[in-house]
Symmetry: C2
Subunit: 322 residues, 2 copies
């Protein structure tokens, strides 16, 4: 297979390349793309040097798969062109996620949408992916009716510069002015990821809400999120409340969690972001019945936002296509 | 007034002394108490040296007020003795919070419980105090029915050693083994504050739940909390969802928030922990209607857990008693 990576020098792009090697994706040619300023630089893949190219109608020819790991603008420009030339595109940006024609895929949940004749696949938002893996398990129980999430999101989701900002600012907060974030992120939590809409919700909160409904194919499901950036390098955590229409037992919930592909359930104790950073699965713990609320349960959910929340999920889509 | 501080060398004790000076509490004698190892050390108050004493039946005599800023064991031992000798006790520990005979007071909410003939007052848990200031405002609107909270709690709540652990661990995570916390706190979130009960809730989560009902005198109110320690030095934040029985308008909510003593409401933008550290009020922002849920609203709530969450609230109780 001939595989292109758009955004190959970013956090997700680099992880995609590492994972393609790790998972032994059948690659004959890896073609990394990046902006003009990285053009001509070399990048190692399976011991060989690959030259970074910039995007052009010439440079994208003859590719079987392209992973898009940039912002939505570049995706909006190049995804339709790639599709027209018969290249499968797995797009990590938000450009086509809510497009009714584009499958929004988390393979553990809706891999049935992956078919040879569909060329463009949207990869969900990082904080949505880990949530839907949990909800898919719970959705098999008696009528899941609503979901409430408060997130604890790592700075790796904001890119390489953001990681550097947190690391340097943590050593001496006053010496590093905020650039990647609206205010100081070291030793601070920021309740803003993305811009605000008219309802005073952020784009991240609306992504969690709308993408979750689309992936689960449950427009009737009520979803509410508060998204918060925390001074953690990598790994997103979420406090999750789930309502069912009828009473469910801990045994039934545990059986569903244990049966869910890609989900690790811990009965006692809990996972933290540092422990799961670098792993490909979703981790759930602190499962408990809410004593004051009828048929409501609490969960603590953690996953690596760059791997399962982005790169791993993209490659899983490509693997299903193969 | 002759005023004693039990636990005068801890985070809350030191802040109490600073605040008594700042707020010009009418003090004739300040008597700081601490463990044997600090006995005889000097502590500055209004420019004068005060000698730290250890607790004894002798050393606690002739005090009008005592602030307890230690754990519950010391409070259980000394609070009844102080009460019997006619000293007013304001107890920051959890020892008597749920005792039906002891008023649990957040002055902005239930100062009517402060009366000359009651000698012992419990100061609520830090994460509860900021929550009830918000809920008191909302409780004046049409039937508040339930509250859901996910907390982002600073390490200062775990004491001086914990602050040192976060600071040192942030510089070099591998070099500082976890002592104040179950696992690494630098660049990590820990969903455990206190021990676990049979329901898999932590003591912090149950404090938020049970103390909130007691302070608001609303046993029927449904409260659910997930308490999480975050790598922040000082200041607690909370994602809060509130349900009303009937429809309420943003205007009504805003009017209630603006009318609430001790609460600052920000219409646009938000407060973060670093900004409000060192302040005495509770800060609320990101007020918005939950689009998928009937009569449910979201809030972002921040306060200084050592000041309003502990020391300031204690002194406010004493000031009302005067």
């Amino acid at each position: 297979m001939k595989v292109g990576i758009i955004g190959s020098t970013g956090m997700v792009g680099k992880t995609l390349i590492k994972l393609l090697e790790e998972r032994d994706f059948p690659i004959e040619e890896l073609r990394p793309f990046a902006s003009k300023k990285s053009e001509g630089q070399l990048l190692k893949f399976k011991g060989k040097d690959c030259k970074i190219q910039s995007l052009s109608h010439e440079s994208i020819k003859n590719l079987n798969f392209v992973f898009v790991a940039t912002g939505e603008e570049i995706s909006r420009e190049w995804t339709p062109i790639l599709k027209n030339q018969g290249t499968y595109v797995i797009d990590n940006s938000s450009a086509f996620r809510m497009d009714p024609e584009t499958p929004l895929v988390c393979p553990e949940v809706n891999s049935h949408l992956i078919t040879k004749d569909k060329f463009v696949y949207a990869n969900p938002n990082c904080s949505t992916i880990q949530l839907v893996v949990l909800l898919n398990a719970l959705n098999k129980l008696k009528a899941l009716t609503s979901v409430t999430v408060s997130s604890y999101q790592a700075v790796s989701g904001a890119g390489k510069e953001a990681l550097k900002e947190l690391s340097e600012q943590s050593l001496d907060p006053k010496s590093v002015a905020p650039k990647s974030f609206p205010t100081q992120i070291a030793y601070n939590c920021i309740p803003q990821i993305g811009g605000f809409d008219d309802l005073n919700f952020t784009s991240e909160e609306q992504k969690i809400r709308l993408e979750t409904k689309k992936i689960l194919n449950r427009n009737d499901l009520k979803v509410s999120a508060q998204a918060v950036r925390v001074p953690v390098l990598n790994g997103h955590a979420e406090s999750v409340w789930v309502n069912f229409k009828e009473s469910v037992s801990l045994q039934d919930i545990e059986a569903s969690l244990n049966a869910q592909e890609g989900l690790h359930y811990l009965k006692e104790g809990y996972h933290t972001q540092i422990e799961i950073s670098g792993k490909d699965e979703v981790y759930v713990s602190r499962v408990r019945k809410d004593p004051d609320f009828e048929n409501r349960w609490l969960f603590w959910l953690v996953a690596d936002n760059i791997r399962k929340g982005a790169a791993t999920n993209s490659i899983q889509i490509a693997e299903k296509l193969l």
